[in-house]
Amino acid sequence: MSFNAWPWFQIIASGFSLGSFYALVALGFSLIFGITRAFNLAHGEMIVLGGYLAFVLWKFYQVPFFLTLPPCLLAMAGLSLPLYLLLRRLKEPYALNTLVVTFGLALLLQNLMLVLFSADYRLLDSGLTSFTIPRIGITFSWNQGVLLLLSLLATAGVHLVLHHTFLGKALRATIQDWEAAQMAGINVKLMSFIAFGMGGMLIGLAGPLYGQNMYLYPTAGTEATLIAIIITIFAGVGRIRTLLLGGWLLGLMESAAIFTVGSKWRELVSAAVLVTLLYFRPEGISFRKPG
């Protein structure tokens, strides 16, 4: 009999690594939504596409897992730019119109991935092993460690840009009030362009991590989009620390559900959290205006 607290350690370890990853997933979504008001329902599909790209590089070109990250980052940032140009053409009501367009894009990407990669479940094997602490019997997988570390690094990086650079000041001003930002001389179109670029890079990082920790299949993105929306509703836009807190809470709840009642209940947790959140925050992701 090993140390009797082990499920708690597992729940906490996997909760925090999963939660940090969820924060990363939400970060790209909330950055794009906060700055451009584009509600990107294809967010999850783009992450899964990034995951497939890493999978192909790893499987067919024997690229080691860590080396798939830079090309995925670049490719997804590159793919976000046509999306930016497409969404820029839309008229008011902007958020609603982007929702409809990106819903179509999500379906398109799902079917494209179905044709290209089939409906089989794929997993990227990064070759990392797990590590068991002797006698206590606690097992810690290095995959989880990488997930935790890279997610936190990316989140901290965005936090640093937003709070300690001129660009970040302009981005935060744009998030807080689109009109005031323009009156202060901020080029909001340029900010939108940058937001899609940064969001695309975050998607490009989340993709391979997804493929390494969860199974890739063409419709897997729906859940990632749902998670991004839940955490953004919880945190509001542009609040990275709250976003991280939201990711951790959701991650801990899901991992508690997995270890106590079984993994089939995991998705129910996020759906229940969404409904509960909307009960207490009926305004959803809408922007707070003063006065």
Binding site: F166, K169, A170, R172, A173, Q176, D177, E179, A180, A181, Q182, M183, A184, G185, I186, N187, V188, K189, G238, R288, K289, P290, G291
Partner: protein, 252 residues
């Protein structure tokens, strides 16, 4: 050196239609450097639409705007801001999560032609906050300010962009007579520093004492133009204006 006053803003044959409704018709006027021009007119006369077109928020259906010798009709608001044109809105637009000082510094950083250092931006912003009497609140988040204070904050942020032309839309709305008096003094002080101003006000107690010249707008057209004293005696202005004020009085 040429000592003649330069034209700061020239608006020619501006018009705006929304669907079948003609909101502005054939508006032409010009504004010299250092001048204060007031635009008066009842609610719905087209004052705000005119402001929105000049500052690049709304494209006109016809006509053009020339600012400091350049045709700026299709410039974006932020480009106009960096080019020296600042404005305020009727409902103040501030950055709710930033402190009062940060709000003004944002204008100093991004709105000037060349970016000042952090220390310069802070000094300039503190000076402006002193000017609008918000210095004591510099650390307060902007969302906690009253509507009046937000309006003054928006004015300070506009000034932080170092404008040559400042457009104030209904800046006196809802202010007490004493506050209006302070604001008039502030406006006259700004003019001595070389600022050109375009104001709207649908009540007259701010615009009358400070304006060099008034333009009366009614139903999208200029119905009269002249000195404040001349204009207020113009029978057409009186009927457009007092008619509406009388009706508003009946409602209340």
């Amino acid at each position: 050196m040429d000592n003649r006053p330069q034209i700061c803003l020239k608006v020619s044959r501006l018009s705006k239609r929304y669907g079948g409704q003609q909101v502005l018709r054939d508006i032409s006027f010009s504004l010299q450097e250092g001048e204060i021009l007031g635009i008066i007119g009842p609610n719905g006369a087209g004052k705000t639409t005119l402001f929105n077109i000049i500052t690049g928020w709304v494209p006109p259906s016809g006509g053009e705007v020339v600012f400091l010798g350049e045709k700026t009709t299709d410039w974006t608001p932020d480009r106009l801001c960096r080019g020296g044109m600042a404005r305020t809105f009727q409902i103040p637009q501030v950055f709710p999560e930033m402190s009062v000082l940060e709000n003004v510094m944002t204008g100093a950083w991004f709105g000037q032609q060349s970016r000042p250092s952090a220390a310069q931006a802070r000094d300039q912003s503190r000076e402006l906050l002193g000017l609008v009497e918000l210095a004591a609140k510099e650390a307060t988040p902007a969302r906690e300010l009253s509507l009046m204070q937000q309006r003054l904050l928006e004015l300070a942020r506009a000034l932080a962009t170092r404008p040559k032309l400042l457009l104030l839309d209904e800046v006196a709305a809802g202010l007490s007579l004493k506050a209006v008096k302070c604001l008039s003094n502030l406006i006259l002080r700004l003019r001595t520093q070389g600022l050109t101003l375009l104001l709207t006000d649908h009540l007259l107690h701010l615009i009358m004492p400070v304006s060099d010249r008034l333009l009366a707008l009614d139903q999208g057209e200029i119905i009269a133009e002249g000195s404040p004293q001349d204009l207020i005696q113009n029978p057409e202005v009186e009927s457009a204006y007092l008619g509406v004020r009388g009706a508003a009085g009946e409602e209340g």
